[in-house]
Amino acid sequence: MTTWLTILGMVAVTYSVRLSVIALLGDAALSPAVRCALRYVPPAALSAIVFPAVFMPGSSLDLSPGNTHLVAGAVAAVVAWRARSTVLSIAVGMIALWVLGT
């Protein structure tokens, strides 16, 4: 029961963020300062999830070349940067992880 209440809460916050400017506030309501700050949300939110997965695959920081997640992640980043392809980047990163892990 509490699980479903939590999920309804997730729906409420997610949907209101998506509705916010389109239907709730109107596009004049957002101040330029807020609009500019929003520009930093995607890089901040994405890297806050990526960094621990890549630099701390166990429970502690691992910057050694033996950290296969770090090496595979770096390879995927280079592919994403040069090829601009999500699919290719994921595929090459997974292959790197498997090759390094064997």
């Binding site: 699980t3 479903w4 939590t6 999920i7 809460g9 997730m10 729906v11 916050v13 997610t14 949907y15 963020v17 998506r18 509705l19 916010s20 400017v21 389109i22 239907a23 109107g26 596009d27 957002l30 330029p32 609009r35 500019c36 700050a37 929003l38 520009r39 930093y40 949300v41 995607p42 890089p43 901040a44 939110a45 994405l46 890297s47 806050a48 999830i49 990526v50 960094f51 621990p52 997965a53 890549v54 630099f55 701390m56 920081l61 997640h69 595979a72 992640g73 995927a76 980043a77 994403a80 940067w81 392809s85 999500t86 699919v87 980047s89 994921i90 990163g93 997974m94 992880l97 498997w98």
Partner: protein, 247 residues
Amino acid sequence: MLSRRAEFWGGVRAQLPILLGTMPFGMIYGIAATNAGLPVEVALGMSLIVFAGSSQFVAAELFAGGTPGAIIVLTTFVVNLRHMLYSASLAPYLRHLGRAWKYLLAFLLTDEAYAVSITHYEANATAPARGTARHWYTLGAGITLWVTWQISTAAGVLLGAQVPPSWGLDFTLALTFIALLVPTLKDRPTVLAALVAGIAALAGRGLPYNLGLIVAVLAGIAAGVGAERAGWAAPCGAPASPAERTP
């Protein structure tokens, strides 16, 4: 001017290549949620009504760790806050629509549907939005993604226990985010925002309930805004959106 049907199918076609990334992503979410011990109906229910991949992954992990619901909701809010940017960006093109259309398209507003829609709208921005069927393009793209997300989540839940953890499939989440992150690094303030958020997330790893994630995102935003104010990049003004330009 294209017909409703042509716009709708245009959106569907634009979404097709992106599905190659969405399908494994959805399957891996299904597998991860099952392995985290989430009941099948909860794993599928999140896909049906939350419909936000990255936050579903994070929430599955938090549910498994017994995190209080309020923290899960707050974390979801922070992870999905980037959709406000999409909402702000598409709003000028949808302003003329009725309430039902706005509520429908907002529900379908994901990273992927936004990406193809804004490209399509900006390419056709010379004509006024009113009177065109352009919003059908977003509907086509959004429905395609929603249906694919349900099917791939269900496939992941069914496969669930049969995929050994040694395959490391959960790492595709990090890889997907790396692929989404790289194009957002457009100038020095955005790079700094990513670095500060990333390092703060590492430092905050020990905090209970994954609260380090929320702190890290806020620190990253503050760093980006600070760098911009310090003159690291041209200040972000409020450029008139293409839809507002007079022809």
